[in-house]
């Protein structure tokens, strides 16, 4: 298992379907932040990008065992890394 020593940090809306990522930061604030936290979007948490909606937005993720969809603009406020496998 190779892992780059400084994996690039990218916003969650930029990863591709089927990718597993790890949350490293949350730029969201206020109600949105609370909703994300309650859904399990915390740092160190592993999530999977499942697919985009037919119209391109929102995006479906798998988080802590359940499917949650976020708008692209909301996902952009979640920072992740994509560990090599």
């Amino acid at each position: 298992m190779n892992q780059s020593p400084n994996p690039e940090i990218i916003p969650l809306n930029k990863i591709t379907p089927g990718t597993h990522a790890k949350i490293v930061g949350l730029k969201a604030t206020g109600l949105l932040l609370q909703r994300l936290l309650a859904m399990g979007f915390t740092r160190e948490c592993e999530i999977k990008m499942v697919k985009r909606a037919p119209l391109g937005d929102p995006i479906q993720f798998r988080v802590r065992g359940s499917a949650v969809s976020l708008r692209s603009s909301e996902a952009a406020l979640v920072l992740v890394t994509v560990p090599y496998n």
């Binding site: 909703r35 909606a53 359940s66």
Partner: protein, 679 residues
């Protein structure tokens, strides 16, 4: 580090009023956990629905009986946590803190243990008198999960009852556990979480300033550090600036966000519990994800949704139709019989009672009842299965183009059946502004009553084939355009473009429960019918009076006709006839009245009036009439629902908005049509 239990501070506030001898149970849990199923199983038919005082959130309460034991069960709103992101969390936590139920039933989805425990831990911070109803165990087993319930109970400090409520499994055990716990309060201290040295330090510094009679100080401190808006607002209005300033200072001084750290600490604790208690299958086969490959497919997702919507409309016309006719016949027999019985009574009394009130009630049942039932059945089925969330997922982009939040799709869908549940459905939208906008545009969507009028009139002018469908779709499209314009206008002008969010859970698909669906259909139908029946008959009487007075007058000289003639010039401005405009005024309380009115004004009764109109109006006039009908006003029941949902001010503003929109679009349509030589 082992799980810590800090002895909590004594948090008992003063005594709370409770019905003598009646135990009180609160049912909490995430949405989509089968909480309603359990509530229904516990309370059977002994339940009623209302609203939480001063709020627009639904409140269900019922009675649980087991032999001689009785308890009052309150179904708390489904929430993902107790930190305030909407009225729901505040309602749930206030019930636990202030009403002090004897037992809190926590419904947990066994297939989603990790996230469900987020709410559980927070509730357990408030009370130790709790029972975990670990529901959907059959689903969990099917997916390959193995849960050690005893260990879980040990770790949480409360009883855990495995259940599969849809299959009626676990219910008696749950009832027994609840009553046992209620009658023998274990007096365990609420299970506190150790948030780590940094946060515990901050909590300790805040607590002295947060002492009060109702909320536990420690709990308040945590919420304050979590930036809970409701608590902050409470503190502000009660003048507790010291606590607020202290919290602000602590937050500023902290390197990391307390909000995030607190949540992470909870999940860390949850992670430890879950590791001990849950065995996940090696390769999780998720059926829902497979089904979703089709239902939210890039290409097929939208057409499939359109298919469901079309099927619903088809069912409303073709299934509800025959039922309506049958009901019509039954009522007609009753009406004829009444007329017989009253043949000795004065003509005006007979008129008011039979032609006014009885006929009015007949109208409601014929137009509204069957359509509501069919619609609610289909809607209930899609909701129970879990498809509605996919609809919101697929349509979110479109909804935003309409100026509405993603979840509003469910509202719009309901509105095509009846605006009243549509308005009521606005409550699932997050955010006050978005909720108002959604509710306000709802009346612009044609409900089944208007659709019934449209389908009666369109074929007469445009033939029965594909032209009729096209014209009907055109009217529907115009209504959506109106929705988009009004929503966007409201957003820009009044609400200054505050962005709304969409954090939507897509629950696993579940086998629908016929019982649940029938139950919700009955409840919703009765609720909508009640409003209609209450206000409709008086107005039916008004119409009857308008067309039968002055007494003994010729058909053309009644008050109704006079009003029609008076309004001709005004109506002509937007392509309507005076009679039609008078009809609109009269039918504003309930659109079903339109055909009734037209039937009397033009002759032919509501069955034959379409034919009569065919000879008097041009197709363009008919179209203008139908467009105006679709847009111009919320019916009285809808106004009532609006008042309950968004307040009197906005309810009346909606009336004005609809009238303006209807007038404008009808005028544009009519004169545009004339310009193009189509009329």
């Amino acid at each position: 580090m082992t799980a810590n239990m800090i002895a909590c501070h004594d948090t008992t506030p003063g005594p709370v009023l409770k019905k003598e001898g009646l135990l009180s149970i609160g049912l909490a849990g995430n949405p989509n956990t089968g909480k309603s199923t359990i509530f229904n199983a516990l309370t059977g038919l002994n339940q009623h629905t209302g609203n939480w005082p001063g709020k627009t959130v639904e409140r269900k309460e019922g009675e649980l009986r087991q032999g001689q034991r009785k308890a009052r069960v309150v179904d708390l709103p489904g929430t993902y946590g107790l930190t305030a992101v909407s009225a729901e969390e505040v309602i749930a936590r206030n019930f636990i803190i202030q009403d002090k139920p004897d037992v809190v039933g926590l419904v947990v989805d066994a297939t989603n243990l990790e996230r469900n425990l987020y709410l559980v831990l927070q509730v357990l911070e408030l009370t130790g008198q709790a029972v975990i109803a670990l529901n959907l165990m059959d689903e969990a087993r099917r997916n390959g999960f193995i849960i050690d319930c005893d260990r879980l109970s040990e770790r949480l400090g409360v009883p855990v009852v495995p259940m599969a409520a849809l299959k009626k499994q676990g219910v008696p055990e749950l009832v027994e556990t609840i009553f046992t716990l209620a009658e023998n309060p274990a007096q365990p201290a609420p299970r506190q979480l150790n948030y780590g040295p940094a946060i515990e330090q901050a909590i300790a510094e805040l607590e002295p300033f947060l002492q009060n009679k109702i909320y536990p100080a420690r709990w308040l401190a945590v919420k304050l550090l979590e930036n809970d808006q409701a608590i902050i607002e409470d503190l502000r209005s009660s003048g507790n600036t010291v606590a607020l300033e202290k919290a602000a200072a602590l937050t500023a001084a902290s390197e990391d966000s307390y909000e995030i750290l607190i949540a992470e600490k909870r999940f860390e604790e949850i992670g430890q519990i879950v590791d001990e208690v849950l065995q996940r299958p090696a390769n999780r086969v998720n059926l829902s994800e497979k089904i979703d490959r089709v239902t939210t497919h890039r290409v097929f997702g939208l057409p499939i949704l359109a298919l469901f919507a079309t099927f619903t409309l088809w069912a409303i016309y073709n299934l509800a139709g025959p039922v309506s006719e049958f009901i019509d016949g039954v009522f007609q027999a009753g009406i004829d019989w009444s007329r017989e019985m009253l043949s000795g009574a004065p003509w005006w009394l007979r008129g008011v009672l039979v032609d006014g009130i009885l006929t009015g009630i007949q109208q409601i049942f014929v137009f509204l009842f069957a359509v509501l039932v069919v619609f609610f059945l289909i809607y209930g089925l899609l909701e129970d299965v879990g498809y509605l969330a996919r609809g919101a997922f697929v349509l979110d982009r479109l909804m935003r183009w309409l100026g509405l939040p993603g979840k509003a799709f469910m509202t719009l869908f309901a509105s095509y059946g009846c605006n009243i549940p549509g308005v009521m459905g606005a409550r699932i939208v997050d955010g006050e502004q978005d909720r108002i906008i959604t509710a306000v545009v709802t009346p612009l969507i044609p409900c089944s009553a208007r659709i019934a009028v449209i389908t009666a009139i369109v074929p007469i002018f445009f033939g029965f084939g594909w032209q009729a469908t096209l014209v009907t779709l055109f009217i529907f499209t115009l209504s959506l355009v109106a929705v988009a314009l009004v929503a966007r206008l409201l957003k820009k002008s009044v609400f200054k473009n505050k962005e709304s969010g969409l954090v939507l859970e897509l629950p696993d698909y579940r086998m629908p429960s016929a019982y649940n669906i029938l139950r919700s259909t009955v409840t919703r139908t009765i609720s909508a019918m009640k409003r209609a029946l209450l206000f409709f008959p008086p107005f039916a009487v008004v119409i009857w009076v308008m067309f039968n007075f002055p007494a003994g007058a010729d058909q053309t000289a009644t008050w109704g006709m006079q009003l029609g003639n008076l309004l001709d010039p005004l109506a002509g401005l937007i392509g309507l006839s005076g009679k039609a405009l008078a009809g609109f005024i009269v039918a504003a309380p309930a659109k079903e009245l339109s055909l009734l009115y037209l039937g009397v004004a033009y002759g032919g009764g509501e069955d034959g009036v379409a034919q009569v109109l065919g000879m008097v109006w041009s197709p363009l006039q008919a179209l203008a009439f139908l467009v105006f009908l679709t847009l111009y006003a919320p019916c009285l029941g809808t106004v009532m629902a609006l008042t309950a949902e968004v307040g009197k001010k906005w309810a009346w503003r909606t009336v004005g908005i609809c009238l303006a929109t209807g007038t404008l679009m009808t005028a544009l349509l009519y004169w545009g049509g004339k310009l193009l030589g189509l009329g």
